[in-house]
Symmetry: C2
Subunit: 195 residues, 2 copies
Amino acid sequence: MAEQDTTRRPGGRSARVRAAVHGAVTELVAERGYGSFTVGDVAARAGVADSSIYRRWGSLEALTTDVAITWLTTNSPIPDTGSLDGDLRDYAAGVARDIGGPDGLAVLRLVIALSQAGTAGTEARDRFLAERGRQLQEMLDRARTRGEDPPEAPEVVDHILAPLYIRTLFGTGPATPEYVDHLVDRLLTPVSRTS
Amino acid sequence: MAEQDTTRRPGGRSARVRAAVHGAVTELVAERGYGSFTVGDVAARAGVADSSIYRRWGSLEALTTDVAITWLTTNSPIPDTGSLDGDLRDYAAGVARDIGGPDGLAVLRLVIALSQAGTAGTEARDRFLAERGRQLQEMLDRARTRGEDPPEAPEVVDHILAPLYIRTLFGTGPATPEYVDHLVDRLLTPVSRTS
């Protein structure tokens, strides 16, 4: 997993602890699901003290949100190909690859679990969705600036991300390049009532 | 929950046991998630013997699949309004209402959990998805028989069901009638490449 640590020594102990703790969370979510492990379990697996985790992250919710947002920002980067069509195709292909990868399912399950984990959980989910929305909006705003007519961000969520997420969650087959392109085709088709 | 028991005495003991067991499974999935309870837990909550559950259903996977498929077939009935447009709007509105209802989230979480629960789980998920596909295909075949040009069933899944499911799983707001109608509008728009 790429490291985005902003401490002074990016390759130092702090970054190693962060990587180990993030890895432990991802593994525990995949194995047990969110809600079935504690900060102590994470600490034991990462080989650090519980107090290190509490000092750095404050709570399990804050830690797991950090894991999910780090995954989101280090994977699926927002492309800048010079056209909306190119950006959406690159973006959709990247999302399909990333959520089909080793941690993608765990991160999706994490966001779903957070949504059902009380106020701290829904706040964490909202931070994740806000970051995803910010990334998308940046891409769509660039298209608008170029004079293109982009869809709204929620439409990208509904017609590109939701089908890819549900395929991953239900385990119903890999998203082929043709399938991903077809999703983009549909999104870029102007809507008109047919009845 | 509506009862579809086919025993000789639909209001009899057999139907009451079935309803109690189904209710216990739905509650346990909602509270703990699939994978965190046993046949014994279901039996205790439903007030029946473990052996009754094993005799009738055979395994926890078979029981939970029965719960999910019963939910699917007693909710979200396939409408027959005489037009594809009317059928899809009624169907989408019904799905939005049902998965926003008390057991909808539990059933979605159950199907996701089954997808990650080994061979018995994926077989159970496949039975659920096959039943859903059969319902959809019936509606789309009727449209084709009338001379309409319906979408393929997987497109209904991707562009009507997936957005509604992800909204429910992420807890990001109720699906308003306007939102649901917009999903149907998009699906019924012919696809043409824009690049």
